[in-house]
Symmetry: C2
Subunit: 168 residues, 2 copies
DNA sequence: CTGAATTTTCAATATTTTATGAAAATAAAT
DNA sequence: ATTTATTTTCATAAAATATTGAAAATTCAG
C-alpha cells in the first residue's frame, strides 16, 4: 500500500471507529488527518482534503480544540490560522479520558447519588433492590473513576512496566 | 423522590448516557428497565412501560441478548417469552468490555497492523512519521487490550483491594 | 392438522444528527 | 476608513438512524 493510500485509509477508518463511540465522523476524520499531517493545516486544507464544507470544518475543529486535542498555531507571516494535533498518542488518550470522565462519568455519578436518596422504607424489598442496584453502580463508577485517574497520572511506560506485570 | 419516579428517572437517564456511548437509546432504556424490574418481563410489558412499538422492542431485545446482557427465561405455564437482565453489575460491566473489545478493539488492531505494512523507504521522513504513529497507536491498543483482559478476569473485589492500593 | 397466540421481519415513516453554504461578523492590510 | 481576507454562525438541506405497524413466519395447544 502506498503512503497516501494508507493515510486515506487511516482517516476513513478512524472516522468509522469514532462513530461507534458516539463521536461525529467528521470530527474523528479531521483529528486523524491532523495526526498524519507533518505540518499544521488551515481550514481550507481540511476542506479540500476531506471534501467537506467550510462550516463543517469550522464547527468540528472548534470541538476538537475544546477537547484539547488540537490547537491553533500561528505561522508568522501567514494571515490564516493553522491547526495541529497533539502527536503523543499517550497524551491524546489521557486527554480523551480526562474529558469523557468530566463530561460523562461525573454527571452519571451525580445522578446515581440522587437516585440513592429515593424515599421509602429500605426494608421494603422492592425499594431495597433498587437502592442496592444504584449503590452497586455507583461503586463501579467510583472504581472506574479511580482507575482512570491513575491512568491519567501515570507515565505510559510505567503502565507497560509495572501495571501489566503485577496482574497476569 | 418516590420509587416509581426514581426508576423512571433512571431509565430515561440511562438512555441518554447510552447515546453518548454510541448505544441506541431504546436499547439502553430496555436494559435499564430490566435492571430495575424484580421479575422477568415480556415484550408486551416493555412496550407498555416504555411506550414503544412491538418491532422496536423485539429488535432491541435481540440485540441485548446478543450482547449477553439479557436472557430469555421460560416461565412454566406461560406461553409468552420472558426476559431478564443480569443483575450483578460487575458481570454486566465485564461483559460489555468483552463485547466492545471483540467488536471494536480487535478490528482496530487488525487495521493498524495492515497500515503498518505501508510500502516505501522507512528512511523517508514522512513514511517514518506515519509508521511510527501507527505503531504507537498499536502499542496503546495492545496495552488497553491487556488491561481490559485483566479487568475481565479479575474479581470485582480484588479490583478494589489490590489494584487501587498498588497505585495510589 | 387447524387455529390462535406470539414473535419476527421489513418497507415505509419519523426523528435525530450532521453538513452545507451564504450571510454576518471579525480581523488585518492598505 | 475602506477594502479584502478570514472566520463564524445558523437556517435549511441532506443523510443517517431509529421507530412503527402490519404482514409473514413461527410456535404451541387442542
Amino acid at each position: 500500500m502506498k503512503l497516501t493510500e494508507a493515510k486515506q485509509q487511516f482517516i476513513s477508518s478512524w472516522g468509522a471507529f469514532g462513530t461507534q463511540w458516539g463521536i461525529n465522523r467528521t470530527m474523528a476524520q479531521i483529528h486523524a488527518l491532523l495526526l498524519v499531517s507533518p505540518h499544521p493545516l488551515t481550514q481550507d486544507d481540511m476542506m479540500e482534503q476531506l471534501s467537506i464544507s467550510r462550516g463543517n470544518v469550522n464547527m468540528n475543529i472548534r470541538d476538537l480544540v475544546s477537547w484539547n486535542l488540537v490547537e491553533r498555531v500561528i505561522v508568522s507571516g501567514e494571515r490564516k490560522e493553522y491547526f495541529t494535533a497533539e502527536k503523543d498518542i499517550w497524551k491524546v488518550a489521557t486527554q480523551i479520558i480526562r474529558e469523557r470522565k468530566k463530561r460523562e462519568l461525573d454527571p452519571m455519578l451525580k445522578l446515581l447519588s440522587q437516585l440513592e436518596q429515593v424515599d421509602g422504607d429500605k426494608k421494603d424489598k422492592e425499594t431495597k433492590q433498587f437502592v442496592d442496584m444504584i449503590g452497586d453502580l455507583k461503586k463501579l463508577g467510583n472504581q472506574a473513576d479511580k482507575l482512570l485517574d491513575m491512568l491519567v497520572k501515570a507515565e505510559q511506560n510505567w503502565f507497560t512496566g509495572s501495571l501489566l506485570k503485577i496482574f497476569k
